[in-house]
């Protein structure tokens, strides 16, 4: 068996060989990315034939660094974060071989952007109570027939640029809520899909509302079995929490670096109280970074468990407190805001723009991807094994629940 060092050396030789045959300066960007995927150098922990080589995930960083050092184009990961962080692991875990071959390559190259159609106006924390209906229509063109989907989704990042949506819909209202859900890949460019911007408290519209009216989904685009949607959705959600709270960063990466650099550059604005807060936040952020690294070491081979919920709670708290610090430290500039016009950003950035924006955007961190309160329930029940609160909604058919 090869050691980690042998594997790493072999991979880096592969990168050199690949670059020798594919000049990043000469090839069109998309051609280069497709060739990189086909060479198994996209995400080395994915299986062979799907952009990877079945190697440890930890080896990816050196591959990315070598491509970056060679001036190669990347796949603009900030623009396709939902595809990379949530859709891809879900498709890998629950998709058919044909779906994996069809979807993963254009997902990774960025040709096809993915969004997530989970939350609804009536189903936020209680996601399993969602009402969007998928009704089977027999013999509808594709083999095995298809589905017609009607309902409303909300808080859909990047839907306006998306080709595909990860859709959770109700296929059986006559069984209890968790049992009647099915998971699909929805073609966002099809008929009956209407995307409207949802303006948020920062002034911009990073999110959308998506209205579905008899939107068509082929049965071949169903991910997992009929009625198994809740289980598939758990994989997406666990990966989402890792994606939000668990990214690998260097020391002082993210919001803490913004605050620390501001402190160093503006001695005139320092006060004892802010110093105490900053040191506490710096220490907490560095410990959280180490905990994230430890979690990734544990996950190197396996799937994310509920432990990712802790990373996400801590990330949200730190981002909120650091951005509040940042705004207080900004002096008179803290009373200003850069721009209230309705923008539609194509990539998500928690750290961009001014301190006022960062402060306001951070309020969403403890709501999106599972509120901090729901995540505490998950930790208490799934990690600590504490008993669930008595509930009345999990055993009766969904259609009989009061709404």
């Amino acid at each position: 068996m090869l050691t980690g060092a042998d594997q790493a050396a072999g991979l880096r030789q592969q990168v050199r060989d690949f670059l020798a045959g594919h000049d990043p300066a000469a090839l069109p960007r998309l051609d280069f990315l497709r060739a990189r995927f086909d060479a198994g150098l996209a995400w080395v922990h994915y299986p062979a034939g799907l952009g990877g080589q079945g190697l440890p995930r930890a080896l990816q960083a050196a591959v990315d660094a070598d491509f970056a050092a060679a001036g190669a184009p990347d796949n603009n990961p900030a623009r396709i974060g939902i595809g990379l962080g949530m859709a891809a692991p879900t498709i890998l875990a629950y998709g058919s071989e044909e779906q994996q071959r069809r979807w993963l390559r254009p997902l990774w190259t960025g040709e096809e952007v993915w969004c997530q159609l989970f939350s609804e106006p009536g189903a936020g924390s209680d996601l399993a109570g969602l009402a969007t209906r998928a009704v089977r229509v027999p013999g509808d063109g594709e083999a095995g027939g298809g589905w017609r989907v009607t309902g409303q989704k909300v808080w859909t990042s990047i839907a306006h640029a998306a080709r595909w949506g990860l859709l959770l819909a109700r296929t059986d209202p006559d069984v209890p809520k968790h049992a009647g859900l099915t998971y699909f890949g929805l073609d966002m460019t099809g008929h009956g899909v209407e995307v409207r911007p949802l303006r948020q408290l920062t002034g911009e519209a990073e999110f959308n509302e998506v209205f579905l009216t008899d939107a068509a989904v082929a049965d071949t685009d169903r991910i997992g079995g009929v009625g198994e949607g809740w289980r598939v959705a758990q994989a997406t959600l666990m990966n989402e929490r890792i994606a939000i709270g668990g990214g690998a960063l260097p020391r002082e990466g993210g919001m803490v670096g913004v605050a620390a650099n501001a402190w160093r550059e503006h001695p005139e604005a320092r006060t004892p109280g802010l110093h105490d807060r900053l040191i506490r936040l710096w220490a907490d952020a560095e410990v959280a970074r180490l905990a994230g690294a430890r979690l990734r070491q544990q996950l190197a081979a396996g799937a994310p468990g509920p432990e990712g919920s802790a990373a996400k709670i801590v990330f949200a708290r730190l981002n909120q407190e650091l951005s509040a610090f940042d705004l207080e430290f900004a002096g008179p500039g803290g009373l200003r805001y850069d721009d209230w016009t309705l923008r539609r950003p194509e990539a998500l950035s928690f750290f961009g723009r001014g301190p006022g924006y960062r402060y306001l955007r951070a309020r969403g961190n403890s709501i999106e991807g599972g509120t901090s309160e729901i995540l505490r329930n998950i930790i208490a029940e799934r990690v600590l094994g504490l008993p669930a609160e008595p509930r009345t909604d999990t055993r009766v058919p969904w259609k009989d629940l009061p709404r």
Partner: protein, 399 residues
């Protein structure tokens, strides 16, 4: 896909390289052996009985842990009779002694005094410590300053008189009082920093004439403290000048770093005890652990414990590797683990309700171990102040 620096050392570490923070199989095996011993010999009724009898130090248990299991020699290389292990293993043992609130001088002898002697390079004493024949303590107040990078001797409380007529030229006589020394009562040998230029570190027979060890009533009765008074006591120099200052600083740094792991063990034990209790305790015809108010508090404790573990493992890894980041790692770990232990112990008392406030329930042993451990060898606030200097986040200039 950001890359900060090349990772050509072993190729398996991410670009923002963090050492392996998991427990190795060997570390887990060591833990299992120590946990079995402490479950058998240091169950909390026995700990409480020892405290009540005023005989906190469990000499028989310490001999088994130190000599029979070889835990006293973890940091000592095999050529000197030790196990040739590292701070990573030592930290795992500390987690278990913390979890059990065990009354053994493990931290003070097998970590702090041993680190000082490793710095001094004293083969004879190291061999005796590794074999469990002798127990040592560094004669420095356990409240301690936070170890700072490049810390040098200031004004140490013990003065040194030159050899008298007819004595060996190297011999010296030590006089002074060191307040609040942990592990002094169980020690056969005291390692005493003697003030002066150059600073010297002396080995002193703890039973010699002129040595008085006055037991204190300590907040944490499972870790006895004593004032150590020396009156013209002969001492053998084991390190001089830079070597002596370095040995003492290294002992304080390693002590704080491994104490962080001990505090992590306390925190995890408090959480586990509390979770078990709230599943069993019924009020309003429900287990109290089904109430969301309690679940969220315990989730927060679990988060603090999870974060603290990463910090403690990072400190142990840095101490093991002699990493230049060790001062940062130890300051982070000591602050984080101290606060996590205090949070977990306070919640342990609160969520046990009335029984948690009694003398008969072990929660108070863990609370006292947690609080005094978080104060010892630098409070969380002092470690954060040290951190501010280390990472270039200076306080406001004085008015």
């Amino acid at each position: 896909m950001t890359a900060t620096k090349d990772s050509d050392t072993d190729g398996t570490r991410p670009t923002s390289a963090v050492p392996d923070l998991r427990y190795s199989d060997a570390e887990e095996q060591l833990r299992a052996v120590v946990r079995d011993l402490l479950a058998d010999r240091s169950a909390w009724p026995a700990v409480l009985a020892g405290v009540d009898a005023g005989e906190a130090d469990d000499a028989a248990l310490w001999h088994t842990l130190a000599a029979d299991l070889g835990c006293a020699g973890l940091l000592i290389d095999e050529s000197r009779g030790g196990a040739g292990a590292s701070y990573r293993e030592a930290a795992v043992v500390a987690e278990e002694t913390g979890r059990a609130a065990a009354c053994v001088p493990y931290l003070t002898s097998a970590v702090m005094a041993t680190t000082a002697l490793l710095g001094a390079g004293d083969d004879e004493l190291l061999g005796a410590l590794a074999a469990g024949r002798l127990t040592a303590a560094l004669a420095v107040g356990f409240a301690g300053p936070p170890p700072a990078p490049g810390a040098r001797a200031g004004s140490w409380p013990v003065r040194v008189a030159r050899p008298e007529d007819g004595e060996a030229p190297g011999a010296a006589r030590l006089t002074g009082t060191v307040g609040g020394v942990a592990g002094a009562l169980a020690a056969d040998v005291l390692l005493v920093p003697g003030d002066g230029v150059p600073l010297r570190l002396y080995a002193v027979d703890a039973t010699a004439a002129g040595v008085t060890r006055t037991p204190l009533v300590s907040l944490d009765a499972t870790r006895p403290l004593a004032d150590v008074t020396l009156d013209r006591v002969p001492g053998r120099p084991v390190a001089t000048g830079e070597a002596a200052a370095g040995a003492v600083a290294a002992a304080l740094t390693a002590g704080a770093g491994v104490l962080a792991s001990e505090l992590f063990g306390v925190a995890e034990q408090c959480l586990g005890t509390t979770v078990t209790y709230v599943k069993e305790r019924r009020q309003f015809a429900r287990p109290v652990g089904s109430f969301q108010a309690l679940k969220h508090r315990l989730a927060d404790v679990w988060i603090a414990v999870t974060q603290a573990r990463a910090a403690a493992r990072y400190a142990a890894a840095c101490l093991t590797a002699g990493d230049p980041d060790t001062p940062v790692a130890v300051a982070l770990a000591k602050a984080a683990c101290g606060e996590a232990a205090v949070l977990a112990a306070q919640e342990c008392v609160q969520l046990h309700g009335g029984i948690g406030f009694t003398w008969e329930h072990p929660a108070h042993l863990l609370l006292k171990r947690a609080k005094s451990g978080s104060l010892a060898l630098g409070t969380p606030d002092r470690h954060r102040a040290a951190l501010a200097a280390l990472v270039d986040l200076p306080p406001p200039a004085a008015e």
